[in-house]
Amino acid sequence: MNNLTLDLVFAAGLVFLGLYCLLFMRNIIKLLIGVEIIAKGVTLGFISGGFARDSVFLAQCLVITVIVVEVSVMAAALAIVIRLYRHNDSLDIRRLTRLKG
């Protein structure tokens, strides 16, 4: 198993772990941790692919873009979490049913 394949196995594992977290956890902060873990898997895949194809500069540019988007998403999501917590006094995702039709 070469280095790229090994990295891709771990990157796929991180993405799978994040998806598992998103699907089966109820705590909103845990869901955001799942998003973080998916982003880590994606960036690992980018850098490994760039290193293997001799395009590390391009991979770094993409990773920096991913990180900047991640920061904005996290800041907005955590602000929403605080607002929701003040309204519902809970971090349980299943209690957020006010918009349910």
Binding site: V15, L23, A59, Q60, V63, V69, E70, V71
Partner: protein, 157 residues
């Protein structure tokens, strides 16, 4: 060496998901970020490593810990019971094999395109200028969203 780092990365990500205490989860995620940054450094991606440490392990984790301290610890791990954990390795193996197959096929189509000429700064400013404009727009949008969410309304008063 890299295999050990990858195992530590995966282990800290797993503990971040399955630990009961949110604060310990966040600390475990910081460890994962630092290990990932070391892997980036080993692959000659120093700028990505610096961003990973300073922004992800620093800024985002500070936000996480602030939110965890502002909200009451609910203590118990809130997990759905519908997914038997014994299926976890099986589905993970399928996922990993599919990922490797798809990405290896896609890798053959990527042009390696002489990107190592010049410095990283030249490449970023000259060839990826649109990315920078997009990043500025995304940060501005994030700031506006956070400000609007914390704006005092009639309900708060």
């Amino acid at each position: 060496m890299e295999l050990i780092l990858l195992i530590i990365l995966a282990g800290s990500a797993v503990t971040a998901v399955f630990l009961h205490d949110l604060l310990k989860s966040a600390l475990s995620l910081i460890l994962a970020s630092i290990v990932l940054a070391i892997i980036f450094f080993m692959k000659n991606a120093a700028y990505a490593g610096v961003f990973e440490i300073s922004v992800v392990a620093g800024l985002i984790m500070v936000l996480f810990i602030a939110v965890i301290s502002m909200t009451k610890h609910e203590g118990i791990l809130l997990r759905e019971s519908g997914f038997p954990l014994i299926l976890f390795p099986v589905i993970f193996s399928l996922f990993a094999v599919a990922g490797i197959f798809v990405i290896n096929r896609l890798m053959l189509q990527v042009n390696a395109g002489n990107t190592l000429q010049g410095t990283f700064g030249q490449f970023l400013w000259e060839k990826r200028t649109l990315d920078l404009a997009g990043q500025a727009a995304v940060i501005l949008a994030g700031v506006i969203v956070v400000l609007s969410l914390f704006r005092k309304g009639k309900e708060d008063e």
